[in-house]
């Protein structure tokens, strides 16, 4: 007997039924076992797994209905088919209500039996396949890892976790390159909509007329060049998440249309008359000051409130410098793998330079800098010279605009340059040593 063949367990108090069904299924290549009562059946189920259990409803002691309940407690995956000598609608309905796949009456039509068991096994295989595929989809749809141990990023991730399951509309704010789309993907991946798509629309990249067609789709002949009917992004995101990037750039007319869709969840394709109902979640992102746009009359207040139900603000990289080493190492490993290069780490001066640099382009700029370093550098260590030149120039520029901030950065830079030779540094700075010591103390500088 093939141990990998689908298994069928037959439970009936009549020997002739057990014997003939076992023989019947063995000829179909199934793995079979039989039990004369519930106790024996449960013992067999603990010893091996079966795909289908054929249970006689009427048995002395524990009957088929009760056995079905006990089997489902033991192994929820077993497909149960009830066998009854008397076709009673009541018992059949009860059995089906309690999770039986189907029921058949004795004597059984051989054709019906073959089809029923084949169908039960196929359904079980499909169920198993479905679970496997869902796991694969979950794995594939996992957004890129969000790296960051700083309290600010931990707070952002906590907000993602808490809002993901709620279905609330989310507005992600942050400077360019901070990873707003990644946060939107994380919200989608952690929501119940994860098996449906997340459809991104870059509102800033498209002129008004194109954005309209992109969002709402169009019917054939709706405008010159509309040769075919086309589904819009709203329709495509049905069941999933619509991610509106750079939402602050949407034109006033599209703002009205979008607001209507968000309120009614219904729209028409361009040139179409039939309203289309959709059900999606909206996550939007912007690096603009929407409140200011509302004040200026460039963004509708009602749309602003509709989109801004829950806000997640991603801090710029310069405000969470403790994340830079972790992010840099993450990108180094990622690109080294992609480029098949044996880079393992940054030397201390390269890392120091990256931590100092203000990263106006945020994480995206850091990723690009690391990628470039891996292209020009020599494995296994990334050194300062491998990083883009502007980093060296800008790393020592003031972090802020106040005189104190400028002074702090300048003093620090000269100290670094002289390898903390205070006399030499004081000479360059044109101050005496005591003054320099006071500055070091004031700004809390250390080697």
């Amino acid at each position: 007997m093939d141990q990998n063949a689908p298994g069928i367990l037959i439970v009936d108090d009549e020997y002739s039924v057990r014997d003939s069904l076992e023989k019947w299924f063995q000829k179909d290549g199934y793995r079979t076992a039989s039990a004369q009562d519930a106790g024996e059946a449960l013992k067999l189920l603990q010893e091996a797994s079966y795909d289908v259990a054929l249970l006689d409803i009427k048995m002395p002691g524990v009957d088929g209905m009760e056995l079905q309940r006990r089997i489902h407690k033991l192994d929820t995956d077993v497909t149960v088919i009830m066998i009854t000598a008397f076709a009673s609608v009541e018992t059949a309905v009860q059995a089906l209500k309690e999770g039986a796949f189907d029921y058949i009456t004795k004597p059984i039509d051989p054709d019906e039996l073959s089809h029923l068991v084949r169908r039960a096994i196929e359904q079980r295989q499909l169920k198993a396949e479905n679970i496997q595929l869902r796991q694969k989809v979950e794995h594939l749809s996992m957004p890129e890892q969000i790296v960051g141990t700083s309290p600010q990023m931990q707070e952002v991730l906590e907000m993602v976790r808490s809002v993901a399951e709620t279905d609330a509309t989310v507005l992600v704010r942050g400077e360019s390159g901070t990873g707003k789309e990644l946060i939107a993907q994380a919200i989608h991946a952690n929501s119940h909509r994860r098996y449906f798509p997340i459809i991104p629309v870059n509102c800033g990249a498209l002129p008004e007329s194109l954005l309209e067609s992109e969002l709402f789709g169009h019917e054939k002949g709706a405008f010159t060049g509309a040769l075919y009917r086309r589904k819009g992004k709203l329709e495509m995101s049905d069941g999933g998440t619509l991610f509106l990037d750079e939402v602050g750039t949407i034109s006033p007319k599209t703002q009205i249309d979008l607001l209507r869709v968000l309120e009614t969840k219904e729209f028409n394709r361009l040139g179409g008359n039939n309203p289309i109902r959709v059900e999606f979640r909206v996550v939007s992102a912007t690096n603009q000051n929407l409140e200011q746009l509302v004040e200026q009359g460039d963004f509708r207040e009602d749309l602003y409130y509709r989109l801004n139900v829950f806000t997640i603000s991603i801090p710029p990289l310069r405000e969470r410098r403790e994340d830079i080493p972790l992010l840099a190492q993450h990108f180094l490993e990622k690109y080294a793998r992609q480029m098949n290069r044996a880079f393992t780490e940054f030397d201390s001066s390269a890392m120091e330079l990256m931590v100092r640099y203000p990263w106006p382009g945020n994480v995206r700029e850091l990723a690009n800098a690391v990628e470039r370093a891996l292209v020009v550098g020599k494995a296994p260590v990334v050194v300062e010279e491998d990083l883009p030149l502007q980093l060296n120039d800008a790393a020592f520029l003031p972090a802020g605009d106040s005189l104190a901030e400028v002074e702090q950065v300048h003093v620090e830079r000269i100290l670094e340059q002289t390898e903390w030779n205070v006399s030499q540094a004081a000479k360059i700075l044109g101050v005496d040593r005591a003054t320099l010591y006071n500055k070091i103390k004031k700004y809390g500088l250390s080697r």
Binding site: S16, V17, K23, K27, P107, D109, P110, D111, L113
Partner: protein, 182 residues
Amino acid sequence: MPRLDLVPIFLPGRQEMLDCLCETLNLQLGLEVRQHRPGFDAQTSFDPDRGQYNSTALLRMLLGDLPVETNYVLGVCGVDLFIPVLTYVFGEAQLSGPAAVISIHRLDPSVYGLPADEELLCERLEKEAIHELGHCFGLIHCQQPACVMRASTYVEDIDLKPAGFCHECNPLEVTATCRIFP
């Protein structure tokens, strides 16, 4: 050459059909086929409630009546067969065992209100006999449409398949599972 005993059960006036079957089984399966009358009372397998004959009981009787020098025995019945849990069977065989029984009752077009067709009946009988003997050789049902070991629960299914084995089931090639060609 392995020997097969063909035992007619409630099959009067079908000698020509039996002779034809003997020849086919000899040619197709390379068996030495002999006919002999049943040495048991087949009527005891009758179930008056169902009006049918119990094929499992008939198999037991055929096994008890098996001559020492015989490798296989095939009962050919003219009556309707059943196994207790099923409404009917075309035949029953022991998987990797010596005995099989088949019925011509449901193979006969006239049972379905169609004109009698002896040629078609013989064809179906041959296929069913080879199919059940295939189980005796250790073969299980085959998914291939062009194989006699494909399961048939309707008589039309029998007409769709050929009388021969597919490459995978051919007992001449499957020596590991076939006891007649060791």
